[in-house]
Symmetry: C2
Subunit: 277 residues, 2 copies
Amino acid sequence: MGALHEGHLELVKKAREECDAVVVSIFVNPAQFAPHEDLDQYPRTLETDYASLVDSKSCSAILLPKVSEMYPSGITLDRTQQRGAFVEVVGLSHQMEGIPRPHFFRGVATVVAKLFNIVQPDRAYFGQKDAQQCVVLRAMIRDLLLPITMRAIPTRRESDGLALSSRNRYLTPEMRNVATLLYKAISAAKATIVSDTVHDREEILKPAYAIINQVAEDVKAQGLGFEVKLDYLSLVDVETLTELQVLGKGQAAILSGAVYVGGTRLIDNMLINTDEL
Amino acid sequence: MGALHEGHLELVKKAREECDAVVVSIFVNPAQFAPHEDLDQYPRTLETDYASLVDSKSCSAILLPKVSEMYPSGITLDRTQQRGAFVEVVGLSHQMEGIPRPHFFRGVATVVAKLFNIVQPDRAYFGQKDAQQCVVLRAMIRDLLLPITMRAIPTRRESDGLALSSRNRYLTPEMRNVATLLYKAISAAKATIVSDTVHDREEILKPAYAIINQVAEDVKAQGLGFEVKLDYLSLVDVETLTELQVLGKGQAAILSGAVYVGGTRLIDNMLINTDEL
């Protein structure tokens, strides 16, 4: 979707290491926004995106399609009025990030299927930061029998652990100071897990909730003029994305969450018992 | 889906004329059947299908996938329990044949998308007899930006006009005698249309209803031991598949219908103001 940062460029460089040619698509996809969401406000920074890609010396071509080219039957954000072909990954799209955004992964799967059909890549690179997106797209590739190998590249972080995100630009310096809370919370949860042992969900997530509550209280006590609020913490099986009450021995899982820092919603995740999504 | 007849072989021959290599898929697709439908009873005639394809000297390869290969996430007919990637062509799947079979075109679009991804054809051949299927798949190809040219091949008919169908084998000689009623009805409706004139739906369909009612009465009067019953007659715009109350000047449309002859449901269609779907 553009608004490129070092995390995106990492994908481009990784792709260049592993492939003969790299195509980068930049397309703000209407189908993954609901009518009340920020399609019009989503950052569009084509000139600096272009310069970064040229600087990277890793990009063979940039694909900049028009909305009318990507949606030949047209596209409206009102789902009841939509027409045309859509791809849905049933069973992996309704939970986690799909709870507040039930339309989201249908929009993502649909646009990625179209981009795949245009570019016909041998490999496709996505960022692990959008963990559920990686799981949804890997399932789509497998189920639709697309001849594509998917690579999920680890999240690029600032030196204090904050995951890079196009939305970090919305943080004031005071917000930026506390924005690491989600990284710290998920790290603390992950630290409770000793390999080859069964763990209860509560035991894993307890230190994460404690950190987020503490930061939220500190921010309130200091009267910084903004709020910190937990949206959710999640511990799911990596294949089914079902919430786990118990993490089995060696069970591959995703620890993830979302927090609001002021008006900005940040997400992050870490993997348990697996290296790549 | 196999159970090949001359209509299918016509597609294979047409493909061979226009292409260097022809792949024929034979796969009875669970996703297009509802739990109460005839998935288990659907005719499977692989040996004779194979012999026909060899005889045709037009087929380069036959694709015979297993259900587990086509549905890596599994497939159950109970839609509420399904998981995995599905393709839906919204706006063209709920009307006509989609009224009694709301799951049908989602199943068709999904399996055809998968077959396309396996074979990666330059051209794909479908029979015009399944008119709505042609419109749905043409929209899917366009919307998903698949690099495939679709060809819809005119319906192959017996000398008396009956459209070839795998289901014709279920007709007794008495049923076969009257089974042309739908062809005759649609022909009579089409004959009312004079090019470059506006027509009312009622005026077009009147002779078709008359023919079907007459045959149904005759069959009843003769006490043949089976019934003839109209399911529906339809006049739709060729792009939107919306029922037309008025056919505009030169407007491309589909005249179609379904009838029951005994327990066998037959469909047929003709095109108005256009040559290919």
